[in-house]
Symmetry: C2
Subunit: 560 residues, 2 copies
Amino acid sequence: MNRKIVVVGGVAAGPKAAARARRRDPEAEITIVEKGELFSYAGCGMPFYIEGVVHDVKELMCTPVGVVRDASFFRKVKDIQVLGRTEAVKIDRSGKKVTVKSLETGKTYDLEYDKLVLATGAYPVPLPIEGIHLGKVHHLNKPEDARSIRKALEEGAKKIVIIGGGLIGLETCGAFIARGCQVTIVEVMDQILPGLLDPEIAGLLSKYLKNVGARVLVSERVTKLEEDETGNVKKVLTDKREIEADMVIVAIGVRPNVDLARDAGLKLGATGAIAVNEYLQTSDPDMYAGGDCVESTDIVTGRKVYVPLGSTANKHGRVIGDNITGGETMFPGISGTTVFKILEYNVGKTGLNEKQAVQLGYEPVTCLAPSPDCAHYYPSAKPFTIKLVVDKKTGKILGGQSVGSGEAIKRIDILATAIRFGATVRDLAELDLGYAPPYSTAIDAVAHAANVIRNKLDGMAKALTPLEVKVKMDQGDDFTLLDVRTKMEVEQQPFNDPRVKYVPLGALRERLNEIPRDREVVIFCKTSLRAYEAQLMLESKGFKHVKFLDGGIVAWPFEL
Amino acid sequence: MNRKIVVVGGVAAGPKAAARARRRDPEAEITIVEKGELFSYAGCGMPFYIEGVVHDVKELMCTPVGVVRDASFFRKVKDIQVLGRTEAVKIDRSGKKVTVKSLETGKTYDLEYDKLVLATGAYPVPLPIEGIHLGKVHHLNKPEDARSIRKALEEGAKKIVIIGGGLIGLETCGAFIARGCQVTIVEVMDQILPGLLDPEIAGLLSKYLKNVGARVLVSERVTKLEEDETGNVKKVLTDKREIEADMVIVAIGVRPNVDLARDAGLKLGATGAIAVNEYLQTSDPDMYAGGDCVESTDIVTGRKVYVPLGSTANKHGRVIGDNITGGETMFPGISGTTVFKILEYNVGKTGLNEKQAVQLGYEPVTCLAPSPDCAHYYPSAKPFTIKLVVDKKTGKILGGQSVGSGEAIKRIDILATAIRFGATVRDLAELDLGYAPPYSTAIDAVAHAANVIRNKLDGMAKALTPLEVKVKMDQGDDFTLLDVRTKMEVEQQPFNDPRVKYVPLGALRERLNEIPRDREVVIFCKTSLRAYEAQLMLESKGFKHVKFLDGGIVAWPFEL
């Protein structure tokens, strides 16, 4: 008898699992059940539809050659039955059938299965405040949401408030700015992307957002939405102010859709998502789960984490497709790699950030290493900054963050690959990466960052982070801030602080007597390279307490 | 007493070693001896100076903030003495001194050393034909060469012949085309980049070059250069034709400068370059060597290879700087990663190509996997093709090649990193790479390529390479070429062969009876994804001898 496979959820992991199963088993009877109207779409593309660079939401449902992946496509090309607008309401595990309900007709009926796949996705965390149900208040979870948001923009919405400074909030923010909107982001935590980035990296991103005209409000809680006479939102009230709004986007995170799994008695993990083993099998051996409804294993720490991402969902789909057709494919886990683009700024993270590393008991060594993304004399060169987080004891790379207008994401991918294999900073510095002037510096930015950490581990490089220097400045410490840049750089971008003493690196050997020997010296330049050189020079001349500012001016996350 | 360090060679590895040594030892007396006029320059940037995107050759000698790295810079900033226009003529190993000669004054004198560093670089292979010394016949080895070439262009040279289809020849070719020149490349071997790329990948590049107007002549030998009345070249004679030329670039490879080392009795390797151990120490423990004059260890095979590249030279410099100041830093080797940009086309290779793998006794499984470089609906999406070479026995990645207008080099860096750690295709498919629509497809191109190989290793995917299909076509084999693309694709880019039968994938299940069952079927589409799907479908319906064309139309290296 032919194997019966039912897949609940038709966005990413579900269709992928079904398609893979079909390739491995031409005889199986495969059915996908999808609650929504649309199907097999690229959810991550929605911000670009809002921005307008993707013209029709249908494009997110097309194959690369323009064929729409609808029910007819799945039937004709893959011999897979798709039940659209159909909800799975109950699973009978002993009877091995799932009860589904057509949202068109209201009719319920049963589907038998040998293997059942749950790919039920995630839903946006609701915000329990007054006015949350007003018109022009949207989540961004489904293509229907994206359509409503774009319609509002086309009807003239200009003042946008985004509640939540997370991934979806920021991607959407970029889309709105590109369309000429006035955008305010309100984040309740003390930085944007609090779960993702360390504060100084989030600070660099905030600085960029302010430069392109966005208002970023952190440590601020939205308390109420006020309506206009037509029932649409007109004002956002926070614990600190009122903000006018033509439209509000609520993006305070997502949670896994686990009702069906929980009701069926499947085991959930501590993260709240469905628990699966390395075969993506649930606590019921005939049920598999993947995508945004399951938790993952963090390959750096071995812990269970909830990181819902389209890339993982697609990988899950292939693994599940194997295992429901007799295969034995394992999914090793993730390193939490997350990347996004906001206008011309690239942001990425993989592995642990410093906060997470400290929480987990590591003693991390970090660096901020700004670099051009290719030979500085090549016309397309753009700057970006890498933060590496390294275990002091072993030299192993725990994680990396990379931000800037330069090619930051290539380096995240290199780091994600290196972390997968437990690479140390030495390994990273020695990688034989591709070098030609249009692609990288002769020593690539990741290798440079690794070398900075090696210099710190060897005791040669001594740095203070921007956060540490800012604290010293704010508490009025007495120290010399030694600026070793060229005259032209100083004129273009002065560092305004009374402690600053200016001696360009080329003159430092001759003018050592101008530097007070009785005080701490914190040296800086554009990126910290020359400052490091100056640190060594001063030390060789008997100066004590000399450090450089990690990352220099480029990675300074505060106003200058 | 202070340590005396003499460095012979002032381009890349030399100055880097000297600078690193200074950072580790503030007291050392460090001297760099450089024969040429210019110093510490980015040799790899010369094609871009020729193209004109780099305006002044001095830019190649500047730090990122515009400070020229000249002798004065090294003295003031690094306390390193640079002897320019000075040649090292003899090494007295027992006396530990090196005799140098000023090319300005002719004066010779000795420099004592405790540690001597050889960074003598490479020289262009001479071409022993009549006319090689004519005017407007250039190598591209030094900034002086680049200046002469650019001057000739500015004086109106239009017809350029490049002898040698290697790395330098091709990079220069791009520069000339960008300036509106008519360029002919003459390569004696039967493909361009013969040591680097497999033939079908070289074929894709040749196709691109022809599209942008270059003439590519392979299996053709230059026999003579003819002069005009002023003593400049006017014609290139080959064994097949005559080609008019206003300028000729001779780029048939480079060889290591080892005269000084050989005369001093140092051991040379089988590659002809200076032999060094993992500390970059020569056969004389007080002499180190790095950069283009030494051979490297290939980390994939353990063999010694000669791959002179600026990135390796810079890494060598740091290692040598450590080891001549009491450190014990090892350099593990290279994977031969080579990348370059020619106009809008990106070309890269890491590890072994298929030819090399076969020569070394591996049984490689390969794939040609074209892909967009980011979500296909994102406006900047561009195509490129990855060729993976994998060891059939172990599933280990032996090498990768990547070409196209899309972001091919990011994937080369991912592969270089993976290869460093002995990754298998399964590892590669599972990497947690950064996914967002502007950066990649949900399953990134490298993971997709890895999955294609996994499908081949599992016996699911059955493909013929373009070379194999071309042979079958050329020898008049009787088989069905089944085109499963959409009607619009077929109209836009027909595949002109009488064997072609057209049935779009969506109609294939219903029209199976149109496909002859008694003949071999080779299926193709744009990239081979749908063709693979069709292969499985036909097989499930009892068809025997069904294969798909690896890489589809996109990776077809011949005329359509």
